[in-house]
Symmetry: C2
Subunit: 132 residues, 2 copies
């Protein structure tokens, strides 16, 4: 496949396909939940403990969206106290590879991006360089 044909996977149909997954993993907690569930079936509280900073509200929301996407299963056990297990589906597991690819890119290029922010912001704060 040529380079142009590859970018068509992004541009094709106005990028509708890639948008739908970006609308999901663009959310703050999604990838953290998926990566954490890579360790196997897990309960709500255990997930919350393993993901520092996530609130009950946001963990619930994130899990519901992933369940709706068919990337995570939610299993309620009829017990007292209630026990709910979350687990990646087969499809959910396939998401990890491309996510890791992106994470590798991020880890490699973030330092440069942050340096770029610094210099860009410094330039923006200055009056534009003028001749004379």
């Amino acid at each position: 496949m040529s380079s142009y044909e590859k970018t068509c996977l992004i541009r094709g149909d106005g990028g509708r396909a890639i948008r739908s997954i970006l609308d999901r993993i663009g959310n703050k907690w999604t990838l953290l939940v998926v990566a954490t569930l890579e360790g196997g079936s897990m309960r709500f509280t255990e997930l919350q403990q393993r993901i520092p900073g996530v609130s009950q509200r946001m963990l619930t929301r994130t899990l519901r969206l992933l369940e709706r996407d068919g990337l995570v299963t939610r299993t309620v056990h009829a017990e007292v106290p209630p026990r709910v297990e979350y687990e990646l589906t087969a499809t959910g597991r396939t998401l990890i590879a491309p996510a890791v690819t992106l994470a590798e890119w991020a880890v490699e290029h973030n330092p440069g991006i942050e340096r770029s922010h610094t210099s860009f912001d410094a330039r923006a704060a200055q009056p534009p360089p003028d001749v004379g």
Copy 2:
């Protein structure tokens, strides 16, 4: 690298590295702009024509953020009428590969995800199935 070690690229430091790039490509027009600039240096108007639906405002914003990240260069030519050329930097070009990887995943799994939405929403609209 083990599967666990790979997901650490996502979970490491609370996912700060991957968040910064997701905060960029999570935005609606970013990847479309990057993929379009893969064709080479381009003017503002040409970009706008090649990206259906983007407004002047959003194209400007997107390009500024990409410039700040050091993924795109902005070159103003001192002419009348003004001519401004945008081009991917070396770093910007390296983003295309992981983006394509994600797009491939999206194209492959979107049909299943949309079917999942349909059945999930149908279930949610129904009263929960009860024994008896």
